[in-house]
């Protein structure tokens, strides 16, 4: 796989896996509007995933027939949803990152990435706005909602740091004007999310622990269950369509 394909697949996997994970809220959200919102966000992510995966190979083959170590999403995308506060904490951290990522990639030297990013940046802005309003509402809410919002945030925070890792693939593509530079993204991301957390009266977590490995196929335990659910139909009935 070329560095460009590797990079494209990483972001495609990010969108695919978080989109799939969010679908677990279907019919389980705190209110009907929230079901619709979370599944709309999942649908946007799935749309971006399809475009990105198709630039690397056959989208169905990549989504349904790869084994766990071949997936290169960051681990934050696969984490269990937990309670609604934790889901919103993750969405804030991920959408805050994706708005900046897509903004940068919309002027990528690679036309394929730029095309996907130019559309996704507008959608991610809605996702961020949605997560922002919930994080503030729950963080600056009751004692119970504040405590659970903070606990969810503390859980997912260390995983967000993986989004800003640079390896040879990223570094070489940044030099060619293709990839977004993580060193530029990280401080902008911190500014975005810290502003929201302050408004939400939440503490900004600090963590020396930086989980890593997602980009190279190392995943957490909940990921296997997600894949099993996503893939079992195609694996049981290869080529099934309806």
């Amino acid at each position: 796989m070329t560095p460009l394909e590797t990079y494209t697949l990483r972001h495609g996997d990010d969108c695919l896996v978080l989109g799939q994970r969010l679908c677990e809220w279907a019919a389980r959200s705190p209110q009907l509007e929230e079901d619709v919102a979370l599944l709309n966000i999942a649908l946007d992510l799935l749309g971006s995933a399809r475009s990105l995966l198709s630039q690397v190979g056959d989208e169905d083959q990549l989504a349904f027939l790869r084994d766990e170590p071949a997936f290169t999403n960051a681990q934050i995308m696969e984490l269990d949803n937990g309670d609604f506060g934790r889901t919103m904490a993750r969405q804030l951290l991920v959408s805050g990152y994706q708005v900046l990522l897509w903004e940068a990639l919309s002027s990528s030297a690679d036309e394929g990435l730029a095309g996907v990013a130019g559309k996704a940046v507008k959608e991610a802005a809605y996702h961020l706005d949605h997560a922002h309003s919930w994080v503030v509402r729950l963080g600056d809410g009751t004692e119970e909602s504040h405590a659970r919002m903070q606990a969810g945030l503390d859980d997912v925070w260390p995983y967000a740091l993986e989004l800003f890792e640079a390896d040879d693939v990223v570094t070489s593509l940044v030099a060619q004007g293709i990839a977004a530079d993580p060193e530029v993204l990280e401080p902008a991301w911190r500014a975005t999310v810290e502003k929201v957390l302050t408004e939400a009266t939440l503490g900004v977590p600090s963590s020396d622990w930086r989980p890593t490995g997602g980009r190279h196929g190392l995943h957490t335990e909940p990921f296997g269950y997600l894949l099993a659910e996503m893939q079992h139909l195609q694996r049981t009935h290869p080529g099934a369509s309806w």
């Binding site: 709309n40 946007d44 992510l45 971006s48 475009s51 130019g118 559309k119 507008k122 975005t192």
Partner: protein
């Protein structure tokens, strides 16, 4: 000899599968038509990345053209430049409003503002009673391209085709 104008005339009848009062041309989904001898290339662009109507739109285009005897058709999907509601025709906006969906306002396009929490507060006109005393209930509604609003005057909920 097939002309672009003839093909466009047929495509002008192809409706959006989710909001059938408007056509794909009204929405700005139809980007280009080229004819080379008998070969027709129709270029379309999705509204939102995950728009589930794209496959159906593609099939509707092919079958509308086939019904006129044009079989040599390729429907091409492009992402760039990214679709914006500024491409929606005046006719399309009017038809949406008559159907009960508040049409998008001009975005002025250009770079997207990524400011935080800009809950839509500029009052939209209620498509039922015309009142401007309306509020947004949810950014996300029955389809990716719409948000859910409520009119505080007539108490009716309504969809808004988001400014995008």
């Amino acid at each position: 000899m097939t002309t672009v104008a003839e093909v466009r005339e047929v495509l002008a009848q192809v409706a959006d599968p989710e909001i059938p009062v408007v056509t794909i041309a009204d929405l700005g989904i139809l980007r280009d038509v080229t004819v080379d001898g008998t070969a027709i290339i129709v270029t379309i662009t999705p509204t939102y990345s995950g728009c589930p109507a794209m496959d159906e739109i593609r099939a509707d285009i092919s079958s509308a053209l086939a019904a006129h005897g044009w079989d040599d058709v390729v429907v091409k999907l492009v992402l760039s430049p990214a679709w914006t509601t500024d491409w929606m025709s005046a006719d399309g906006r009017r038809k949406l409003e008559e159907y009960g969906i508040a049409p998008p306002r001009r975005t002025g396009s250009g770079p997207v503002a990524v400011g935080l929490s800009q809950r839509d507060s500029a009052g939209l006109s209620c498509p039922q009673c015309g009142s401007r005393d309306t509020e947004e209930l949810s950014r996300f509604a029955s389809t990716a391209c719409k948000s859910l609003w409520r009119c505080k005057a007539c108490r009716e909920p309504f969809d808004h085709f988001k400014d995008h």
